[in-house]
């Protein structure tokens, strides 16, 4: 797989490529071959296998028991699998919430912090801190807040006026929002740091020019800074979409560690519901995985186009 693409492109590289000895070629074949083999075997093979298995039924034990069933699994999950549509709806809510609140807030904070003020590093550290914690830890921290009997939130509500006993994580109308607050707590800092890096590369002369033209802070940001940072905006959009699709850990922990819970179904959780423990639903799990894959590919494609466009020229 590695000796085939050794054909050089330009005359300049041809002279260089000729200097590669047999030993050099073996070395290059090894350094690209082993990581590529690992990537294909552990990442791309399972991804393609998910696609293949989504058209079959399998009990997950004997390879000979895999039976082709065409689009049956898809028909089943779309029409006959009650948690599917709630999960899709929750993933969409997750995305909209994250895109409309924590993401703009992170951008706002980055813009506020990207100037010569004291303590900016302290503010950044505090707001970014949740991002360093494992989602398992984040889950426990919020569980201590949301617990209906002992939690901080009900404690404060009861101090204000007794009689509150809200089961934040148990009530199916509330729990998704409770989890979204915890997730947004983490996401804000992430976006802030990414945007700060983008703002560092921004030419301050443009901002000055806008200020000289009489633009206020908000106008400068919306009309000058934001449009000029298109590459960063695309990255942030992709990060937001991917994080919303991948959301798993925090819901898993806050849901009690037993798979999906009413009100908090997500595609990622339904997939693991169908493969761990129950062995007869591999086709279901794979079809769900393919649905997730197709949606992710849109985001991945956007990212790749944005990133590699300039190199392709």
């Amino acid at each position: 797989m590695s000796s085939a693409p050794l054909a050089p492109k330009s005359s300049r590289t041809r002279s260089r490529a000729r200097r590669l000895t047999a030993g050099d070629r073996v070395f290059l074949a090894v350094v690209i071959g082993i990581p590529l083999a690992a990537l294909l075997f552990f990442v791309w093979l399972p991804a393609l296998a998910s696609l293949g298995l989504s058209f079959t039924t399998w009990d997950g034990i004997d390879l000979a028991d895999i039976h082709w069933t065409g689009f049956d699994n898809y028909q089943q999950i779309f029409g006959n699998y009650p948690p599917f549509w709630p999960a899709v709806r929750h993933n969409v809510i997750w995305l909209l919430f994250t895109a409309l609140l924590p993401t703009p807030f992170g951008i706002f904070l980055a813009y506020q912090l990207d100037r010569k003020i004291r303590f900016t590093r302290i503010y950044q550290t505090a707001i970014f801190l949740p991002m360093v914690l494992s989602l398992a830890v984040v889950g426990f921290i919020w569980e201590i807040i949301y617990n209906p009997d002992t939690g901080l939130l009900n404690g404060i509500l009861n101090a204000a006026g007794p009689g509150h006993h809200i089961d934040w994580l148990g009530n199916p109308d509330l729990n998704l929002w409770a989890v979204l607050v915890a997730s947004g707590w983490r996401h804000t800092g992430y976006i802030m740091i990414l945007y700060l890096a983008g703002l560092k590369g921004f030419d301050p002369a443009l901002k000055e020019a806008a200020a000289l033209d009489g633009a206020n802070g908000r106008q400068t940001f919306l009309r000058v800074v934001f449009p000029a940072l298109k590459p960063v905006n695309v990255i942030i959009l992709v990060v937001t979409v991917m994080e919303s699709l991948r959301a798993f850990d925090i819901v898993y922990v806050l849901g009690g560690g037993v798979g999906s819970k009413p009100g908090m179904e997500l595609l990622s959780l339904l997939i693991t519901d169908n493969i761990i423990g129950e062995s007869s639903h591999i086709g279901y799990g794979s079809a769900l995985a393919v649905v997730l894959l197709l949606v992710s590919l849109a985001a991945i494609g956007t990212f790749l186009v944005q990133t590699f466009r300039k190199e392709d020229q």
């Binding site: 070395f27 082993i34 990442v43 399972p46 296998a49 010569k116 303590f119 360093v132 201590i144």
Partner: protein, 305 residues
């Protein structure tokens, strides 16, 4: 917060290329807002610290939202001793260290290949690695789980005799999955190293492997520092792979073991807070010590693609 205000001003200010004209404006309003937000962001963490320092009997008697009657580290020692945390920490080390080293070695090799030689499929290779890291883990998990059940390992590597239920399996998927991100970052970094450096080595007749180990790798030290910091925290924090691919609790790393302890100590939030905070301590230490590396790793990867 006030104890941190004693830092020298040169440390808290961002290095800027352009000095501000005239006297800096008073920024009281902005500081009130930013300080308020920063404090609000710390509340959940501080609440966990407060809860973990109070004995269970104190909170049971007076409620959680109350002034403390006694504070101590009892919950930490209890969590440490009762739930086998040292063992799970050791599992985390056994998984994280080889995974980080393997990821960096693999991705340095691929990045070297695609950035220093003009082969035709370079862009495709780089995309394959980058996109691999962007796939949601749940898309891979079903076949990976079955695959791990099929792959035998010798007994000295895994007492399950399978890739399933062994640290090797977790290390392998971490390396394969994380290589994508690191390859992307390192190839961008290596492209900034002038071609003349390796061309000079070629003219001198140095074989390619010496170029790689003796010229390119040492020059990438800053990128390695950033990526090693970032990847250590990510891999240490991950708990999805072990959750799905390690069946027996005692082989799991600390983060997924923590999820297990949830049921066991559900009725004692003080103990859970202590356990969660202890799990967070290594990442917090790494973050505070190597904050610059951590953030530059994150931003050279995502911000300046």
């Amino acid at each position: 917060m006030t104890t941190t205000l004693t830092r020298p001003p040169s440390d808290v200010r961002e290095p800027r290329t352009r000095p501000a004209p005239g006297k800096p404006r008073r920024q009281t309003g902005r500081h009130l807002m930013l300080g308020g937000i920063a404090l609000l962001w710390l509340v959940p963490l501080l609440w966990a610290v407060y809860t973990s320092l109070r004995p269970y009997s104190d909170t049971a008697q007076h409620g959680y939202l109350s002034w403390p009657h006694s504070l101590g580290l009892g919950n930490f020692t209890d969590a440490w001793n009762q739930s086998g945390m040292p063992h799970f920490f050791w599992n985390s080390v056994l998984i994280t260290v080889p995974s980080v080293l393997g990821t960096l070695l693999f991705s340095a090799a691929v990045a070297f290949f695609v950035s220093r030689f003009d082969f035709r499929w370079n862009i495709v290779l780089l995309m394959l690695f980058t996109a691999g890291n962007l796939l949601p883990a749940q898309v891979l998990i079903t076949p990976l789980y079955r695959l791990y059940l099929l792959i035998p390992l010798p007994e000295w590597m895994s007492d399950s005799l399978l890739l399933y239920n062994s640290a090797w399996g977790i290390i392998a998927i971490h390396i394969a999955y994380q290589s994508g991100f690191c390859t992307f970052v390192l190839s961008n970094y290596m492209k900034t190293i002038p071609k003349e450096i390796s061309e000079a080595a070629l003219v001198d007749g140095a074989p390619v492997w010496r170029q790689f180990f003796q010229i390119i790798l040492p020059l990438c030290r800053p990128a390695f520092a950033a990526l090693a910091t970032l990847e250590s925290i990510w891999i240490y924090n991950d708990f999805f792979w072990p959750l799905a691919l390690v069946e027996t609790g005692d082989k799991r790393p600390i983060t997924s073991a923590l999820a297990n302890l949830q049921g066991q100590y559900f009725t004692n939030p003080n103990l859970i807070a202590a356990g969660a905070l202890m799990t967070a301590i290594p990442t917090l230490l790494v973050y505070f010590a190597l904050q610059r590396q951590f953030i530059s790793g994150l931003t050279i990867g995502s911000g300046k693609g």
